[in-house]
Subunit: 452 residues, 2 copies
C-alpha cells in the first residue's frame, strides 16, 4: 500500500509540535495544581446510552459510533434493513461511541464513583474528544479539551478562583485576553421582565449571536421565534447597556427590580467582583449581557475568554450548572467549571510567535562517530553526562562530519563533541559550541562545567 | 438514566491513579529524553486501509471500527445484506478504526513525513491503543503503550542504548527485571541447520511457547506443523543450551558453523555485549534462544523483559525490523525499537508497593472557611502562597471544622491554616501540621518558611 493518509480532520504531531503542545498542557496543569485541582481520566469510549441525548439532536449526529465486534448484523431484521433507516440500524449495531466532550463523562464519573469521592470535588481533565464535524480551518475531528470543575459546592468563591485561574494561565502564556462574564439568572430575569418567560432558551440562543451577526439580525430571529415587538423593544436597551461593570450593574438593578431571580443574578456577579477586588488580576473582566453560550445547562455564572491580539473565537468558556449529575440519577449537586481550548491556544501562540525557542527536552550534546573505537569511547562519556541528567546522543553510524553536523543543526543541539584518535589518546574531546562556533579540547570535568 | 456504566475492558482513573500512572510515564519520558529521543503523536483514528492486514487475521478481528457518519447504508445492496457477511458489510460501512498499536501508525507517520524527518529518526510515542480482546485480569480494551524506536540506522549501538534505557527505567522504578535477548538470524540459522528452512515461522512461533507450555508440547506442535523427527532431534540440544552467555555463544558458533546467517546473528549479539561491557548495567541480560515473540517483522535482535518479583508476563519487548515502512512504499529503512507496557508496570509497582507515598501535585495547605470575611482574608493569603508556587486551597463553603479537617485528611494535605476573627485582627493564621498535630500562630513570612 503506497501513499498512506490519515482520516480528514485528524493530525499527526511532529516532535516540535508535541513539545509546543506540552508547553500549553504543562502550564495549564501546573496552575490547576496550584489551586488544588486534581487530575482524573475517563475512557475514550463511552456507552452510547451515556452520550445520546446529552448534546441535542445536532450533537447526536456528530458522535463517532463504534461498530459492535463479531457478527454485529445478528440483530438486524430484513425489515429493519428495508426501511433504510440509518439511525435505527446504527443503534442496533453500535453500542459504544467516542467521547464528545469531557463534561458528560465527568458527570458519569462522579455518579459512578460517588462513594469514593470527598466533596467538594475539585477535578481537572485533559484529554482528546472526537466530533464528526465538517473539518475546516481551526476545527478538527480530534481535539483536546482541558476542563477544570468543582462539584458539590455552592460558594461563589469557586467562580472567583476560576477567574483567577484564567488570569494566571494567560499571564503565564503571555496572551492578552478579555474575560466576559454573565449570569443565567439575569437572562431569566430579563425574560421575565419583558414577559417572554417561556422563551428564555430562544432568547439566549439568539442574543448569544449578537456580536457575530449584529443586533438587527438577532431581532429578526427573535420575531421569527414568536417574540412580539413590544417585548423586543423592552429587550433592546438591556442589550445595549454600556459603561463600567459597576454602572451596568447599577442600571440593571433598576431595570430588573421586579424580577427576584434577576436580582439574585446581579448579586451573584457583585459577590464575585467583591472576591476579586483584593487580588490584582492582570486581565480585564467585562460584564456582557449578550453572553449566553447557547448551552442549556448553565444556571448561574457564564464565562467566556477572548484573545485580544488575534482574530479567533473564544479560547476558554464555562459556567455554573446546578444539576449536571441529575441526568445520571444523582440530584442536587451543584458545580462550576471552565474549559480551555488547547488547539485554539496553540494557534494563538503560533500566530503571535510566543512559543519558547528551546524546549526543556532538547538534546544538549551530540558525540560524533568516525569508527567503532570512537563510538565506544563516546558511549562511556555520554553515560557520565546522562547520569548527571544531561541529554546526550551519539551519532549511531559512521558518516561524514558534514552529515553529522547537519543532524545536530536540524535537532538544534547546542554542543557537538568531536571524537578522533587523538582525543581518545588524551582522554579528551573537542567540544564545539554550535552557536558561537568556538572549539576547545576538554576533559570530562571541563565538559560538564561548560555544558551546565 | 440511572446507574450509568462504562464499556467492559475500559477504566476510569481516579486522581490517585492518574498521579501514579503519570509517575510511570514521567519516569519513562525523562529517560527517553536523556537519550535524545523525541516525542510524536498520531491520531486515535486511522484509516482501516492503514490498519487491516498488518496484525494477521486475528488482529483484523480485534480492530475497533468506526461507523461512517451520515447515511452509512447507502453503499449496501440488498444482496450484500442477504449474504449476512459481517466482514464484507463492515468494510462498506466503516472506513476508520482505532489505533491497535503504535508501530504501524509510526511507520505510516515516517512515510508521510519522510521529507521533514532527518534520519536517523529517534522518536518515542506514549498513547493509548484499543483492542477488542476478551477482557480479563490485567488485559484491557484500552491501554497505553510507550514505544521508543530509532529508524534509519543499522548500527548495533542502538540496540545497546535501548538495553541501557531498559536498565535505567527499571532501576529508577526500583523494579528488578531480567532482560532476555535473542536474534532472529540465529533462529533462521537454526532452521537452516536442521533442514527446515521454509518452516522458520512455524518454528519460531512454537519455540516462543517453550517456557509457557514446556518442551514436550512444543515438540508435539512442531510435529503437527510437519517438521520431521530428525529435524526435531537436531533442534532439541539447541533449545536446551545452558551456561553463561559467553558459553552459549561459543557452543552456538560451533553448532551454526555451516550457516552464514546464523553466524551473523551470533556476531550481532556479541557486538551488542561488547558495547555494553563498559557501561556497568544493573540488570542481568540473558541470551535466550527460545525467545521469538511470535512477531514476523523482527529481522535482527529480539528483546523481552520480565519482572522478577511478580508473576506477570513480559513488561517490555521489541526488536529490530528491516523493512517496517516497506508496507507503505518506503523500502530499505531499518529500525529497532522497544515498547514498555505501562499497565503491566502499574500492576507490578502496585503489588510491590513501590509507588511514592506523596505525589508532587499534592495540595500543601488548606485554609478553613467559617464565613465570608474569613474567606476573603484566606483568599489573599492563598494568593501569596500560590505566587510562590505553593499549592493552596480554601475550603469553599462554611462548614463545621470536623468536615473541613476530614477533607484535608482525605486529600492528604499536610498543613491546615485555621482562620477566625482573632487571626484576622492580628493578620496571622493558626497553622496546624497535620502529621504532628502541632499548632502555631504565624505571620505570612513564618508560614512560608514553615511550609517550605
Amino acid at each position: 500500500m503506497k501513499n498512506p493518509s490519515i482520516p480528514k480532520g485528524t493530525r499527526d504531531f511532529t516532535s516540535k509540535e508535541v513539545s509546543q503542545r506540552n508547553f500549553i498542557f504543562d502550564t495549564i496543569k501546573s496552575i490547576f495544581h496550584i489551586f488544588g485541582y486534581q487530575q482524573i481520566e475517563t475512557p475514550a469510549m463511552e456507552n452510547l446510552s451515556t452520550l445520546l441525548g446529552k448534546y441535542g439532536q445536532e450533537g447526536d449526529k456528530l458522535l463517532f459510533k463504534i461498530l459492535n465486534s463479531g457478527n454485529f448484523l445478528e440483530n438486524i431484521t430484513d425489515d429493519d434493513f428495508s426501511q433504510d433507516n440509518s439511525l435505527k440500524i446504527s443503534n442496533k449495531i453500535a453500542e459504544k461511541g467516542l467521547r464528545y466532550d469531557l463534561t458528560v463523562p465527568f458527570a458519569r464519573f462522579v455518579v459512578m464513583n460517588r462513594d469514593k469521592i470527598v466533596f467538594p470535588f475539585k477535578r481537572f481533565q485533559i484529554q482528546p474528544v472526537w466530533r464528526a464535524d465538517r473539518p475546516q480551518r481551526g476545527r478538527y475531528r480530534e481535539f483536546y479539551q482541558c476542563d477544570v470543575d468543582v462539584i458539590g459546592s455552592n460558594s461563589l468563591m469557586n467562580e472567583a478562583e476560576l477567574i483567577q485561574i484564567i488570569d494566571n494561565v494567560y499571564k503565564q502564556l503571555k496572551i492578552n485576553v478579555l474575560i466576559k462574564i454573565n449570569n443565567r439568572k439575569i437572562l431569566t430575569g430579563i425574560a421575565e421582565i419583558i414577559g417572554a418567560k417561556d422563551k428564555i432558551i430562544d432568547i439566549t440562543v439568539a442574543i448569544d449571536k449578537t456580536e457575530k451577526i449584529g443586533i438587527e439580525k438577532v431581532i429578526i430571529e427573535l420575531l421569527d421565534k414568536g417574540i412580539d415587538n413590544q417585548s423586543i423593544e423592552k429587550l433592546k436597551p438591556i442589550l445595549m447597556l454600556s459603561g463600567s461593570n459597576t454602572e451596568k450593574l447599577t442600571s440593571l438593578r433598576n431595570i430588573l427590580k421586579n424580577s427576584q431571580i434577576g436580582l439574585i443574578g446581579i448579586e451573584e456577579i457583585q459577590t464575585i467582583f467583591d472576591y476579586l477586588d483584593n487580588l490584582q488580576l492582570t486581565t480585564n473582566i467585562e460584564l456582557d449581557l449578550t453572553l449566553a453560550r447557547g448551552l442549556n445547562y448553565y444556571t448561574g455564572a457564564i464565562f467566556e475568554v477572548k484573545a485580544l491580539d488575534v482574530e479567533i473565537g473564544s479560547v476558554t468558556g464555562g459556567g455554573r450548572y446546578d444539576n449536571l449529575t441529575g441526568i445520571f440519577g444523582l440530584e442536587g449537586v451543584s458545580g462550576v467549571g471552565i474549559s480551555f481550548g488547547a488547539d485554539r491556544i496553540y494557534d494563538v501562540l503560533n500566530q503571535l510567535n510566543l512559543f519558547p525557542q528551546l524546549s526543556d527536552n532538547q538534546t544538549i550534546i551530540l558525540f560524533t562517530c568516525f569508527g567503532e573505537q570512537e563510538q565506544k569511547f563516546a558511549l562511556s562519556w555520554a553515560d557520565i553526562l546522562r547520569k548527571q541528567g544531561i541529554s546526550a546522543e551519539i551519532f549511531p553510524d559512521v558518516a561524514k562530519i558534514k552529515k553529522q553536523m547537519a543532524y545536530a543543526d536540524s535537532k538544534q543541539i547546542p554542543f557537538v563533541a568531536i571524537v578522533g584518535e587523538n582525543e581518545i589518546q588524551q582522554d579528551k574531546v573537542m567540544l564545539k559550541n554550535m552557536r558561537t562556533g568556538e572549539q576547545q579540547l576538554v576533559t570530562k570535568e571541563e565538559m560538564i562545567l561548560k555544558i551546565k
